[in-house]
Amino acid sequence: MELHVLLIFMICAAIVAIEVKDLLSSVIAVGAVGFALCLAFLVLKAPDLAITQLVVEILCLIILIRATINKDLPLVIEGRWIFNTVSTLGFIAVFLLFSWLALKELPSFGEPTMAVVKKYLQEGVSKTGSVNIVTAVILDFRAYDTLGEATVLFTSVIGIMAILRRPGRKKRE
């Protein structure tokens, strides 16, 4: 049910992003699509992906907004200080309420929620032979993830080398 609402919202936001005339509004609509996708990942029980999507979405939005706006936005504050103060206080209250609710739900320290963690801790040494449990996880149980991270570093080094190298050969006349 929540997933369908999110999908309809994403489709509407995408249509808005295509149709609206103002460039900044279009970028913000694209950002709404991204944040709805983050919530959809949460609904589908993939919190790691949701965190990654949230962070990457914020970074992309900042870069896109910085690229679309050439001059600094003027900040209008004259004559609206009552509204600004009330809305700021309201947002602070909402943030505190939700963080209190979220902190109550956290599991207590030292009791992992995932059952697979206990298996790693009990059988790590006998299954991999590695005494250091962190190395046992990142290079044996989750070695595929480590391969992906190594690929990310490799790609970034290639990119930096390609950008910063000497100017390429001139085409012969």
Partner: protein, 146 residues
């Protein structure tokens, strides 16, 4: 070239660097090799190895460090590290699946134990160390050469 007073920092810094740089490099290699026994591993040890070369470059100027490892050699070594990690992963297919630990486990707390994990650590250490040093080299040397 090493004792050229024009390039790099002062004589005090150069002398201290000459004394400490071997120890820093050795500590990085120790962290990589003992990754399955003590805290650390390929990434942390590789960063320490890269930092020892960065230390060399900061103290003696960029020509000395670039003479030790050139840009092409850095690229080649990084590719070798990546390929080594990938081939260790593919060797698991000899036993049936990706990243399978095919070597004997040995007894815990020995240096030669845990099958492929030390080899993976060495591969990642080469890759990370040379890769980070290559980024630093590119930012310092290639920027100036325009």
């Amino acid at each position: 070239m090493i004792d050229n007073p024009k390039s790099g920092m002062t004589l005090i810094v150069k002398t201290i660097t000459r004394l400490t740089i071997g120890l820093i490099l050795l500590f990085g290699i120790y962290i990589i090799l003992h990754g399955h026994l003590s805290p650390g591993g390929g990434f942390a040890g590789g960063v320490i190895v890269a930092l020892s070369f960065v230390h060399l470059m900061l103290a003696f100027g960029k020509d000395v460090a670039a003479a030790r490892i050139s840009k092409n050699m850095a690229s080649n070594l990084e590719s070798i590290g990546a390929l080594m990690f990938l081939s260790i992963a593919l060797l698991g297919f000899l036993g049936g699946s990706f990243f399978l630990n095919i070597l004997p486990k040995g007894t815990p707390f020995n240096l030669f134990s845990a099958g492929i994990i030390p080899l993976c650590n060495i591969a990642i250490g080469i890759k990370v160390g040379v890769g980070l040093f290559a980024i630093f080299l590119a930012l310092v040397v290639l920027e100036k050469s325009k």
